[in-house]
């Protein structure tokens, strides 16, 4: 059952867009997260370095002047306006605050090291505010606790910013990704869509259908060209099949009509035995010609289906010589001179087809050459090719009709009366195709010159 075409294209484009969006979302999230982690780490390290410096100077005071020295230093620091505002707290081993600008020892800090916590800080104008603090706790000898901290609001702000940035970025990426992705996928799929519509129109019988090729030489163009070649070959085959069927029907109809007429007549004259016998004999001849035609049609089908896998080495000149010898008496009877000039040629091919190529061409040449004329059969050999040439001195084929002459059942009007199924040249053409040879019809001035040029591979060159 055919599926609605636009539905396939639509869903494929949507799938493509979704994939693109998903990839973009992941990339954005990862990028933002990495950036966030790096930045917060940097800020934290900076705050800790500041806190460390301050703590180190207090510890130095302790070394020099003991607890009293530390308390003094803290009081002094509190009273001085500074760019970096520090939090200090010196507490007893039990946690009772002794000196400092923090109201009490934060409950969550129970050992030395770095800690983050938040606390209420008085600020000008707005009263109390919750602020984040990055602090270092030190346990002094004797159990006294020292806490030095600095405001680290940037980290919290950054976290909030990050979250909102993430949400907005993802929203934007999602929307853009979907839109661009859909557009991009549609663009690629437009070709697929075009190809499938063209294919459907082709199937419905419009054999002249072709796909547009942009000329950019990209993958789409290559695919388009392949599809176009397939269409063209199919059109050619359908055309030749149609012509063949019409030709075959015509060629069968003529003798069959004659047979029926003769039978009708014989029925009327059934008492005359001599007439009956004549009718039978004539009908038999017509039937023979029909059987020959059928044998030729089968032969052509067989020729076309010959696979290169069945090829064997063939001494082609011997094959041609034998064919010429076979036709020698026929030529003589007709008063035609048959001349041969054959260079040794070894080919890889189908023996029966090559033999038939030779006999068909020689048979035709003798048939069309008037008495007193010459038929030449030649086989030449170059480094890359073997050239099989048969020339006659008959009427030849006008250049415009040579293409038609190679089609099945083509009997050009001038020769309609000649015997034969009209398949001889078609079989030669099929044999040439199977052997990758080139078949050329030319002018012998006067007469027809048929050339079959076989390419010769390395293997044959050696022998």
């Amino acid at each position: 059952m055919p599926i609605e075409r636009s539905a396939i294209a639509g869903s494929a484009a949507l799938r493509g867009a979704l994939w693109i969006t998903l990839i973009a979302l992941l990339t954005t999230s990862v990028a933002l997260t990495v950036q966030y982690v790096q930045t917060t780490r940097l800020l934290q390290e900076r705050t800790r370095a500041l806190v460390d410096d301050e703590a180190a100077s207090l510890l130095a005071r302790y070394q020099a002047a003991g607890i009293g020295g530390v308390a003094g230093a803290i009081r002094r620091a509190e009273s001085l306006p500074r760019i970096n505002e520090f939090f200090y707290l010196l507490a007893s081993p039990g946690g009772e605050p002794l000196v400092g600008n923090l109201a009490g020892w934060p409950e969550e800090i129970d050992r030395s090291g770095y800690h983050s916590f938040s606390t209420q800080v008085a600020s000008t104008g707005t009263g109390w505010r919750e602020r984040s603090v990055e602090a270092r706790a030190v346990i002094l000898p004797g159990g006294f606790r020292l806490l030095v901290g600095n405001l680290s609001d940037e980290q919290k702000a950054l976290q909030e910013r990050y979250l909102s940035a993430l949400v907005w970025s993802l929203l934007a990426t999602g929307a853009l990704g979907l839109a661009l992705g859909f557009w991009y996928s549609r663009r690629g799929l437009a070709f697929v869509d075009q190809a499938s519509s063209a294919g459907e129109r082709f199937l419905r019988g419009n054999l002249a259908e072709r796909l547009p090729v942009s000329g950019r030489g990209d993958e789409y163009d290559r695919l388009g060209e392949t599809i176009n070649r397939t269409f063209a070959e199919t059109e050619r085959l359908v055309g030749s099949l149609r012509a063949a069927t019409e030709g075959l029907a015509h060629d069968l109809k003529t003798p069959l009509t004659r047979i029926r007429a003769r039978l009708d007549l014989a029925e009327l004259q059934a008492s005359d035995e001599q007439r009956l016998r004549t009718a039978m004999a004539e009908s038999r001849e017509d039937i023979e010609s029909i059987l020959r035609l059928i044998a030729d049609v089968l032969g052509l089908a067989r020729a076309e289906a010959t696979a290169a896998a069945s090829f064997v080495p063939v001494q082609f000149d011997a094959l041609v010589a034998e064919a010429a010898e076979l036709f020698e008496p026929v030529a003589e009877e007709r008063g035609v001179r048959l001349e041969t000039d054959l260079a040794p040629v070894r080919l890889s091919g189908a023996r029966a087809l090559l033999a038939q190529t030779a006999t068909n061409l020689i048979d035709n040449a003798i048939k069309y050459t008037p008495p007193g004329g010459v038929v030449r059969v030649e086989l030449h050999r170059t480094a890359e090719a073997a050239r099989f040439v048969v020339t006659d001195e008959g009427p030849g084929i006008p250049e415009a009709q040579r293409e038609i002459a190679l089609q099945r059942f083509a009997r050009l009007d001038a020769s309609r009366s000649e015997p034969g199924s009209g398949l001889g040249l078609s079989i030669v053409a099929a044999a040439a195709r199977v052997h990758r040879a080139t078949l050329r019809l030319g002018d012998n001035q006067p007469g027809l010159r048929v050339e079959v040029i076989f390419p010769i591979g390395r293997a044959e060159t050696l022998s």
């Binding site: 044998a295 067989r302 064919a323 076979l326 036709f327 029966a352 038939q356 006999t359 048979d363 015997p419």
Partner: protein
Amino acid sequence: MKLLLVEDDEQTADYLKRGLGELGHSCDHVANGVDGLTAALSGGHDAIILDRNLPQLDGLAVLTALRAQGNRTPVLVLSALSEVDHKVEGLRAGGDDYLAKPFSFQELFARLEAIVRRRGGDTAPRTQLQVGSLTLDLLGRTASRKGRRIELHNKEFQLLEYLMRHAGQVVTRTMLTEAIWDYSFNPGTNVIDVHVSRLRGKIDAPEEPSLISTIRGAGYRLDAD
């Protein structure tokens, strides 16, 4: 002759039975491979006409089984597949000759007669063939009639040899193209006729009766004078 016909197509079978009957030969007919093999093995036939495409058991399988049992009855294989390689398969499986459909009755009968004769005739290698006044020396590759020496080309010699080996039988044009020229196709309208008439001109002196007669619609027959 008593013949066995193994053919599943009723029309072909009827036509062959009628034709063979009119020539005075009796013909048993079976329509599938299994019955065909049973009938063939029961023996008593002078020749078997075996279709390749049969229900139950394929013609080639029947033939292979028959030969495996040591049965040497001459077999003519019929087939709708006119492929050369199918022919080779048929002969390799033990067939004596192979005929592609469509065929004429004369063609079938000529081939049938030829394979039955071939089996019946002495198989000892001969150096000379003799038909009436005509002598063919197979070693010296020469022919003579009533002491008159006849010059023959290679193909003419082969043609005459084939006709003499089948003396008294009808030989078709296709049989000649296959045997002498080894062509599996029809080489041209009247090529064989021209060769035979040329041969006739060589072996018949003006006052002598013609040994090779043309059988209308069938082929040729060489008879003793």
